[in-house]
Symmetry: C2
Amino acid sequence: MKRRDRNGEIWDFEQEMSSLSSRDGVILGLDGGTTSTVCICMPLMSFSQKLPEPLPILARAIAGCSNHNSVGETAARETLEQVMAEVLTKSNSNRSAVRAVCLAVSGVNHPTDQQRILDWLRDIFPKHVKLFVQNDAVAALASGTMGKLHGCVLIAGTGTISYGFTEDGREARAAGAGPVLGDWGSGYGIAAQALTAVVRAHDGRGPQTALTSSILDILNLSSPDELIGWTYADPSWARIAALVPLVVSCAEAGDQVANQILHDSVKDLAESVKAVVRRLGLCGEDGMDPFPLVMVGGVLEANKRWDIGNEVIKRICESYPGVHPVRPKVEPAVGAALLAWRFLKKESEAKPAT
Amino acid sequence: MKRRDRNGEIWDFEQEMSSLSSRDGVILGLDGGTTSTVCICMPLMSFSQKLPEPLPILARAIAGCSNHNSVGETAARETLEQVMAEVLTKSNSNRSAVRAVCLAVSGVNHPTDQQRILDWLRDIFPKHVKLFVQNDAVAALASGTMGKLHGCVLIAGTGTISYGFTEDGREARAAGAGPVLGDWGSGYGIAAQALTAVVRAHDGRGPQTALTSSILDILNLSSPDELIGWTYADPSWARIAALVPLVVSCAEAGDQVANQILHDSVKDLAESVKAVVRRLGLCGEDGMDPFPLVMVGGVLEANKRWDIGNEVIKRICESYPGVHPVRPKVEPAVGAALLAWRFLKKESEAKPAT
């Protein structure tokens, strides 16, 4: 293991470890996003029985951003390696006990991204460890389907993406390209359009809106002109997306501009799901087949009177009545671990002798 | 002059200067944008005669970005001070000879921005020097009206803004708030929508478009998935806006998606001009009064078969037939100097005794 020599201190704990907690080995599931990175460790569960409820989680560790587009490759890898070492320490386990790792990280948009991370991961773990690298959306899907790669997931938090898989292994995604490339249904998209509406009302291009006083109040600004400085003072998308609840309140109070923004967002989010369903044929030939739609992220969880998630489902239902919405009961890192577990299960079923 | 002590080396040349080139003094005009900063020095021209043609320009100096939002206040001020010192050196002149300075810089969006720059400028020049600070759009207007603050200017380069003035001193602006706040008619806006259209065609949300092969070819990418990495590798707006000519070519070749993007941009740009004209009543009570519309920036100067500038004018003309489009013959820095000259002229007319 070249990595142990190079980055020794991270894995030092292994030398002091006398016994292992899980004879049958463990699985690591990792969900790495732009805001935080979560890693969980679960024992390898029996392939012949139903998944236990609740799932046995040996340990959980949390770290910062691991999106290589945001913090650079070196910092992202350091974070990933440290969070995996931490979860193994907490589980009183080590790398020899690991049977599989599923790393689901944002910023994996291309097979070359995937291969680069796999190559790096290969140097950290012993050869027998099965390694999987996925976009973080895949872990979100698996968190709703308990590890089955079938159906569609819609994530709408600060950003948004739709991701789908068929049982025969095809996959497709839509949106998820960030605000520059038109993810207007996301939390960032909703809030940026609300800010735009305030500027337009102020300079005479658009209608007056209750968003103006609400947004200026909460940001403690005295004029829409000051929004320019506020916006460019800190370009973080999450800071802008934090205005979503305020847009929802204005819409609930009857503001037409705010309502239009939310309706546009619903249309956008539904469109990205429908594009994935259509390309994969998840709805069957007659468009009526059932398929799960896992719904994840702050924008879809609002659950207020103006419920963006429900409106999106209604809209998808008009085209694909077989849609079966699922709100996940476990977190995406557990979804990632379950993905790895199902891969091992499939392998063991294919080769019963090993 | 506190500044001379603090930042002595910039103004050292003044001590070695024996005679002045312009007995009647000089005027400095400065146009500071995000890409570059231009400063010109012209002699104080007679108030009683028509402006000479061509205008006498004693010197011109050029420097980098002076937008405090982009490079920070200290770097922006250093750039502004250096470019003014350089143009005075080149003119064989010094600060005592300066009668007026007009600093027209981008990023001046609020009276507090203006006051902060004025306070700083006050420390650099002797007390008798008249100082004016404006948004760079005002210099662009003045470059088309030869210093008169009347009419409207539409700038559409990487960004876009509309700015208007009435003869009795009222002013209004629209757009100019940057892409986050919805400047979709700008060069950046057009190009970002083209990139979005490529992503949407690829993931099934939108129609196929010739933009895909054109954009992938020019960026040397093999798949639309790679656009995400390309976009976030360098978030500079100008780099994205550089794709505008390619969008125009696709539209000219008949691509519907590209045509729609350009038509939307025309609508957006015309809307921002119309908002300013309406608020200021530049068109008179019956909407028929003549007013100048100064047109500036790469997006409006294309002058190809698909001529965005001409389409914008046509659209404005439908509402305000008195619109009189002007393509400036001098650069904005000269416009800034002419603004300062007209202020001095007005002052001398008001108090003929001084």
